[in-house]
């Protein structure tokens, strides 16, 4: 009966392709009938016409939950295959689903490679579940990055709007690099991690060629996440009129991002910087790294999660993570990692001194806390001035709001 309904609805949609309500209705029936891939096709069409539709997005989540996303032929490893229908994305389920299969492809960039490559394809063992807090950021990454990567159909539809990449920014040590690695871990896609400081440092005068090659490798291993770390190193707005190597490198990067003379299909660019205001504005124009994502220091709950992550596997005893989280306001993820290190060290020193092995306890943490200060103060100062005085186009509104709340 359902099938007949679906048939007639399909006919109706074919004759009235612009009727989104009809199309979504059909899609929901398809989802219920367990025909996920067909549903995705319709929802994606609807989403393309109306990207903000909540109903369509929910349907998409459901449809993706039911459908094994067909792996693209060139994919080095099978993409995620969530087996249970679920609304939203279940990180833990994904983690167990992906299991051992995540193993990034090793790319060999031997083609006339001068010396050691400034980039390498990484073995990624981190998952988004390992990233503490940052719920909002994870959500946005899922919507704008992971979902399309997992679904080639979606990708085809959104191909145009996926042009360009996402720029993560925020204070140091708050998990930008960590997040990017986790994204790669989630996808099992090949992941090219390159610090632009290295591109410049290693081959001054040749960085241009390196950038070109980097993208070639990325394209040849599509689908691939290309992570450009420390983007500000490549030349800020002030080096615009400098006749340095940075300028030509920026130009090459622009060319590559625009996909001029080549197709960037399947190459997803993720970039990170602590100083987005130092990034060449040309790099941030539409179609390039135009979407930004602010990665902030962890809030209290997130700090607790981060602490728990870092304490996992350590010999700890009666640690009140909640109290610690409360006492570490303003700490970055890296600061928290450092705190755990120091506490362990305290316990170790003590054990060595007394000759008696003991667990890491709260006293170790208190001692470590007394010596630690949050490290993001200078960044905050800089960011505050930018948000106050140089936010003409409103691009740092979210930063400004956050800074105001912290006062």
């Amino acid at each position: 009966m359902d099938d007949r309904l679906i048939e007639s609805l399909t006919a109706a949609v074919t004759s009235a392709p612009a009727d989104l309500t009809l199309r979504l209705h059909l899609a929901s029936l398809l989802v219920e009938a367990g025909r996920g891939p067909e549903a995705i096709e319709h929802v994606a069409t609807a989403l393309a016409a109306e990207p903000t539709s909540v109903e369509a997005r929910e349907l998409m989540a459901r449809a993706m939950g039911t459908s094994p996303a067909p792996a693209p032929p060139s994919a080095p490893t099978p993409a995620a295959e969530p087996s249970e229908p679920s609304s939203g994305f279940d990180w833990h389920a994904a983690e167990s689903d992906l299991g051992e299969r995540v193993g990034p492809m090793f790319v060999d960039g031997t083609t006339e490679d001068p010396g050691p490559a400034p980039y390498d394809v990484e073995q990624v063992g981190v998952r988004l579940a390992d990233v503490g807090g940052l719920t909002e950021v994870k959500k946005r990454l899922e919507a704008s990055f992971l979902a399309p990567l997992r679904n080639p159909e979606l990708r085809a539809l959104y191909g145009k709007s996926l042009r360009g990449g996402l720029l993560l920014y925020g204070p140091p040590g708050c998990g930008k690099t960590f997040l990017a690695k986790a994204v790669a871990g989630e996808l099992g896609a090949s992941f090219l991690h390159v610090s632009l400081a290295d591109v410049l440092d290693m081959y001054i005068g040749q960085s241009e060629r390196n950038v070109k090659e980097l993208f070639e490798v990325a394209r040849s291993s599509a689908p691939c996440v290309l992570f450009l770390d420390e983007l500000d190193a490549i030349g800020g707005k002030r080096s615009l009129n400098r006749s340095s190597g940075a300028r030509t490198t920026v130009n090459q990067l622009l060319t590559e991002l625009d996909g001029v003379g080549s197709d960037n299909e399947g190459v997803f660019v993720l970039a990170a910087t602590n100083h987005p205001w130092d990034v060449d504005p040309a790099l941030r124009r539409p179609g390039r790294l135009d979407r930004t994502l602010l990665v902030l220091p962890p809030d209290r709950d997130a700090r607790e999660a981060v602490l728990r992550t870092h304490l996992r596997g350590r010999p700890v005893e009666r640690i009140d993570t909640r109290r610690l989280a409360k006492a570490t306001d303003g700490f970055s993820g890296a600061d928290l990692a450092h705190l755990c290190e120091s506490a362990s060290e305290n316990a170790l020193m003590d054990s060595v001194g007394s000759g008696q092995v003991r667990m890491i306890g709260m006293t170790d943490f208190d001692a470590a806390l007394a010596e630690l200060r949050p490290s993001i103060g200078p960044w905050m100062e800089t960011a505050r001035n930018v948000a106050l005085y140089a936010n003409a186009s409103g691009e740092y509104d979210d930063l400004a709001t956050w800074l105001r709340k912290r006062r």
């Binding site: 190193a233 948000a387 005085y389």
Partner: protein, 353 residues
């Protein structure tokens, strides 16, 4: 390329990005690799200078000079550090050595010009000559236009000064210092609030970390607030008349509403001339300005509050607030007059001294 060159290149790039703390780090690494490297000391000097740690910068600059007494760059860096440290007279001598070493290097003349301009009393004419020489050697060096423009303004040739700065902006429309200094020339005279605001916006957008620009914006804000005195005065005289004539309460309310609307329009206009988010960056301005200015501003605020109260209060109260407004206004004027006289006396002493 050696490790040290490499680190220095990176440090210089970081300096240009306006990240002196990171640059300092790279420079120190370079020094760790080669503790006798004069160029490394030069970069370190500039990095410390950029963090306003002038005392340390002077030390690093002296080390640079000691490491290579023939390196003009070292003298230039030291001169800038000395100026920052408030020892412009020493800086003049040091920059002079740089010029002697490299008479064809515009950066040396530029540093000399700035040192001369910063010495007290400022040696405007010599600064003018040094900056002119720098520009002659390198017509595209816009920072020297700033020195030349300010020197001209200091010589009383403000029009020419402005012209030079605008010329610099034609060469590099984004040079934030030119924008700031154009604004500064206007600010000193208290003219053209809108134009000054636009220049300061451009400067703040490019160098949001520069405290000089923040200060200039604060000054501009105070200047603008003083402009609001005129409509307040007019409102007060109308209200006085209305109180004297025992006009109905609503006529005073109308006066008050018109006044408030006008003031609102002025503020709206002003907020479009200055960096976006006026209410955020302007917060706490009274705590940042000098004490005398703060006093005058507070008196003026109280004055405006009394005028508003006169507009909307019942008749009996209005008579009182109207009187109070008059008193406060006079108080502010007296304060301003005293301060002006003090300022003039001090300046004259300065000239003689």
């Amino acid at each position: 390329m050696s490790d040290v060159d490499h680190l220095l290149e990176r440090a210089s790039a970081l300096l240009e990005l306006g990240r002196p703390a990171d640059a300092e780090h790279a420079a120190l690494e370079a020094l760790a690799a080669d503790p006798t490297s004069a160029p490394a000391f030069v970069v370190l000097t500039r990095a410390l200078d950029g963090q306003r740690r002038f005392d340390e910068a002077v030390g690093a600059g002296r080390s640079a000079v000691a490491a290579d007494p023939d390196l003009a760059d070292a003298y230039v860096a030291l001169a800038w550090a000395l100026v920052g440290d408030g020892r412009a007279d020493d800086a003049v001598a040091v920059a002079g050595s740089a010029v002697a070493l490299e008479p064809h290097e515009p950066a040396c003349h530029h540093a000399l010009g700035w040192a001369l301009l910063s010495s007290s009393p400022p040696r405007h004419q010599e600064a003018h000559d040094a900056a002119a020489r720098a520009i002659e050697l390198e017509p595209g060096a816009t920072p020297a236009y700033s020195v030349l423009g300010l020197a001209l303004a200091g010589l009383g040739r403000r029009r020419e000064g402005r012209k030079v700065l605008r010329e610099g902006l034609r060469i590099n429309p984004h040079d934030p210092y030119l924008h700031n200094n154009l604004a500064k020339i206007d600010l000193d005279r208290g003219l053209r609030i809108g134009r000054t605001g636009r220049h300061l916006s451009a400067a703040a957008g490019a160098i949001p970390q520069e405290p000089v620009v923040h200060r200039n914006l604060d000054t501009l804000l105070v200047r603008f607030a003083m402009r609001l005195v005129w409509p307040t005065l007019v409102a007060l005289s109308v209200l006085r008349l209305q109180v004297a004539l025992d006009a109905p309460w609503w006529s005073r309310a109308v006066t008050g509403a018109v006044y408030a609307g006008l003031a609102g329009l002025m503020v709206a206009w002003f907020s479009r001339q200055v960096p976006r988010g006026l209410r955020f960056w302007a917060r706490g301005v009274l705590a940042r300005v000098a004490l005398p200015v703060r006093l005058i501003a507070l008196a003026m605020l109280a004055f405006a509050a009394c005028v508003v109260a006169t507009a909307f209060a019942p008749t009996s109260l209005a008579a009182v607030t109207e009187q109070a407004a008059g008193v406060l206004l006079r108080l502010a004027f007296v304060l301003a007059a005293v301060l002006l006289v003090a300022h003039l006396v001090q300046r004259r002493r300065h000239r003689r001294g």
